[in-house]
Symmetry: C2
Subunit: 314 residues, 2 copies
Amino acid sequence: MVQTVADVGEFGLIDLIAERTPTESNAIGIGDDAAVVQLHGHTVTSVDTLIEGRHFKHDWSDAADVGHRAAAASLADIAAMGARPRSLLLALAIPADTAVSWALELVDGVIAEIEPLSAYLVGGDVCRSDVATVSVTAVGETNRPVTRTGARVGDTLAIAGRQGWAAAGLTVLSRGFRSPRALVNAYQRPHPPYESGPAAAAAGATAMIDVSDGLLGDVRHLAQASGVLADLDSQQVPVSDQLVETASAFNVDPLTWVLAGGDDHALVATFPAEVNLPEMFNPIGRITDPAGQAPGVSVDGRPWTGSLGHDHFN
Amino acid sequence: MVQTVADVGEFGLIDLIAERTPTESNAIGIGDDAAVVQLHGHTVTSVDTLIEGRHFKHDWSDAADVGHRAAAASLADIAAMGARPRSLLLALAIPADTAVSWALELVDGVIAEIEPLSAYLVGGDVCRSDVATVSVTAVGETNRPVTRTGARVGDTLAIAGRQGWAAAGLTVLSRGFRSPRALVNAYQRPHPPYESGPAAAAAGATAMIDVSDGLLGDVRHLAQASGVLADLDSQQVPVSDQLVETASAFNVDPLTWVLAGGDDHALVATFPAEVNLPEMFNPIGRITDPAGQAPGVSVDGRPWTGSLGHDHFN
């Protein structure tokens, strides 16, 4: 018999979660009305939700994968402000017949994702829902928040982290395949370049965003928020051999993954031209004057206006 | 034609929310990867989720009610740590055919709940789900967090805020009635005694909890966390005339509402016997030595062990 969350109840499940969750010294974690931590500098908060059937499928993601992905989505937002995460809250709404082991493996995935960052799961909420809904709030700190609004004409546009791998992995899974494993893994457990966020802030980044809606779409968000034009150099946008090979096998243009994929949570930042880019950042374009046109994104100097279309790119 | 969230899309809805949401000066609110605020002292965080059909019904709660209730649940947890709320994140998962007006009225309810507290809605997340799921994260600050664990033998047990009103209102609604309005309103828009949390901390409260699982159940949580026995004086537990009258009309024992109801988010705290209780707190019992028995709750000196049963109370 599989033990379900209905068997152990809300408080039983919380106790089981608390048992396996490390607590930061001098902090108050799971088990009180709220969590308490001592932060320094500016406090940075973000929340992200994954819903069964929309953001994940049990066929394609095990419980730990869901935990990793849910945590990564919020943590990448913290990094994109130039901040370091300190604590996470997990709001878990799951059906009554969910196996306890599934819930605990999800928690283990969350903990495994934040442990290398010296961040802690400090609290959350457990309730029943017909649709599994996993909402993670991340709380971080920084002395120098980097927003989307500070990009200036002449700045270098640069990217850190993989881009397009998770989208390729999703294509692979949705076509019924399980390999290439590197791409499937990239979808199941993304590896956002968390350290690159604070590094960019320290190096003087003028603006930053994490790529969660597609590279062109998110660069456009940054450009519009800053009131500038972001011009991508199509020769500089990295397209790995792995993506090219797999795209060929699946009869897909690999640029679709690179330009429209978001699940890798790459970081895109702008830096003054004289700044040496921090390790892991590679230039992909430049900030230019919209010269009377609407702020947005262009590719190789030509305006890019479509919702997405790699035809515009070539 | 009712405009739905599918009509305006995720970003359209976020823009509409941002337009009506005041932003704290010197803070970064809705529209970036994450929110940024400057906090003082200890940072206190909590999350609470309301799910359509389980925690609210459209028949009994309008959108603003849901916003008020969702915010209140998280804010009461902040108060129960002795903290003041500073910012809120709203994770809203709603069906595609949800009216835009419903979503915006919910946001208005959240804002109306936090505005008197000088707290701000600073961010969140919008996505589609078959079941409306409203998750609110509250972030607060305090110089002296009050946990559940500090109650000591001889302390006075005291309560601030109404207790049993929301449960009575829910009974009224579930029997198909709409009055007494005061009780129905108490369910639809609770009024947790937010100010009493920091006041209790300042007065030297040794432990505190917000009543969200029932008075006896939550006092037991506090007592177990502190390793003590909490003895309630049945003569001191406040049962208002309004509750007595309505209970009589509905053939209910009003103590059921007072002892088992949680939705009012009253605060229960313990204070050293020599402390003058802060305004709004009234004594309801005393902390005693479990004397070899398991920590928990007793009533009029007799152990109370049931899950809930007002028979044990009399």
